[in-house]
């Protein structure tokens, strides 16, 4: 059963992955509270650890090119257990969507629209996301390529403008913290946000037929582009803020506030705010699309367009119930969420892949390899 018949090219898929990872630049503040100015070390470790995880996701795409993840679960575990595990994944996707929407609401309240109730902002965003979702993944992913480049340019520009504030000595000393802090930070960064690429397993049927080598290229190149931006943003913030990094909820915003090149070039944190809003909007739209497809798949219907709005509205009302405030959210992200996310992003997909390999699935494989002429 193909729910969404729209198709995107492999290149657009790659940029969607890159842009999705860039959207997680806000989440690096989660590890700043644990590993402070040494946060760049766990990010490097997290990137290395996420490579086999991304390879696992790519393997799903190669083995099951025309099946989304929930369909793979049903094939592997059978209809009943597959549906039960699929239902937990529906909750997981909706939960991640809600958490990101909560981040957006908190961010706009903190940085831009202080007097506006966050629910109004989130409602407006969701309505636009629903409009994109109803038009298919092609529309959802359409502007990923241009905005990946724009966001990359914003990061490079910020590095240039902050050149006089950057002190690379702030990255040192290294490896001075207790070992468990590195483990914790690496675990956090691997599961939030790198492991969240699991959501793209729901959109692989929308990617036009590509070869095994191209699948590998698009997954890893897309991830690499995202990693570079994440690392640059973090290193920039550490180099500028040093030991004070963990004191701020939005270190990127604080860093850009320090830009001061004459009277004309100061207080440019609005660029960060606009960029981050764009990023979060894209991420939430992808997540809403994935949640909608997952619900449609669970109930066995192709009418996902009629489910998008009600799921979006549910997410708007569900997200404020998750945490009372951003401090509670941050604390949970450091202590609990890595384990919850790890279950859905690593353990269950790995188990599924192992069982699928043992059962020699898929039995009737549509060969995704293009016939390569000798």
């Amino acid at each position: 059963m193909i729910i969404d018949k729209s198709q995107i090219s492999g290149t657009r898929f790659m940029f969607a992955i890159a842009f999705y990872l860039q959207s997680s630049a806000l989440l690096t503040s989660f590890i700043a509270g644990v590993s402070e100015q040494e946060s760049w070390i766990p990010v490097l470790f997290g990137i290395l650890l996420s490579l086999p995880i991304i390879y696992m996701f790519r393997t799903f795409m190669v083995k099951f090119p025309d099946k989304n993840f929930l369909q793979v679960l049903e094939m592997t575990y059978g209809k009943v257990i597959g549906k039960i595990i699929g239902a937990t994944y529906v909750w997981f996707f909706i939960n991640v969507t809600s958490l990101n929407l909560l981040d957006l609401g908190d961010f706009t309240k903190l940085a831009i629209l202080r007097q506006t109730p966050p629910i109004l902002v989130t409602l407006l965003f969701i309505l636009i996301s629903v409009w994109a979702v109803r038009h298919g993944f092609n529309v959802v992913a359409r502007y990923s390529s241009i905005f990946t480049i724009i966001e990359f340019s914003i990061v490079i520009l910020s590095l240039i403008l902050l050149a006089n504030q950057i002190d690379l000595n702030n990255l040192l000393p290294a490896f001075q913290m207790p070992f468990y802090k590195y483990v914790q930070s690496t675990h956090i960064i691997t599961t939030i946000p790198l492991g969240e690429l699991v959501v793209f397993l729901m959109v692989t049927p929308c990617v036009k037929t590509i070869s095994k080598q191209q699948a590998t290229k698009y997954w890893f190149l897309g991830a690499l582009m995202g990693f570079i931006v994440l690392l640059l943003v973090l290193i920039r913030d550490i180099a500028v803020l040093g030991n004070n990094l963990h004191l701020f909820t939005l270190p990127g915003m604080v860093s850009l506030r320090l830009v001061n090149l004459g009277e004309a070039l100061s207080r440019i944190e609005i660029i960060f705010a606009v960029g981050l809003t764009l990023l979060l909007f894209f991420k939430i739209t992808i997540l809403l699309y994935v949640s909608t497809i997952a619900v449609a798949q669970l109930f066995g219907t192709t009418q996902y367009k009629n489910l998008a709005l009600i799921i979006g509205i549910f997410v708007v009302f569900y997200s404020p119930t998750l945490y009372q405030n951003s401090v509670e959210h941050s604390n949970s992200a450091r202590t609990i969420e890595p384990f919850v996310n790890g279950l859905f992003e690593v353990i269950l997909p790995l188990l599924t892949l192992i069982i699928a390999s043992i059962l020699k699935l898929p039995k009737n494989k549509k060969n995704m390899l293009q016939k390569q002429e000798a």
């Binding site: 219907t301 009418q303 009629n306 709005l309 799921i311 509205i313 998750l322 945490y323 949970s332």
Partner: protein, 73 residues
């Protein structure tokens, strides 16, 4: 707030549920109804400013009971 919430849900039913009923999409109607019920519950609780239990707190209890949660410092 309550009137706006109920009004909003009526609009959603008119936009999305009526076409599904017209085209007799049984599974889609079931899916819509399930999500609608949850959304309406959360929407009404929000309108009445009532506290809803957080699922993340349940996960927190489970992870802490398993003894694997990281400690806050």
């Amino acid at each position: 707030m309550l009137i706006l919430t109920i009004g909003g849900f009526i609009v959603i039913v008119l936009i999305d549920l009526i076409p599904l009923i017209k085209h007799r999409k049984k599974f889609a109607i079931i899916a819509f109804s399930a999500v609608f019920a949850l959304a309406l519950l959360y929407g009404l609780m929000n309108a009445f400013e009532a506290d809803m239990p957080s699922i993340m707190k349940a996960w927190k209890s489970l992870i802490e009971w398993l003894g694997i949660a990281y400690k806050l410092e």
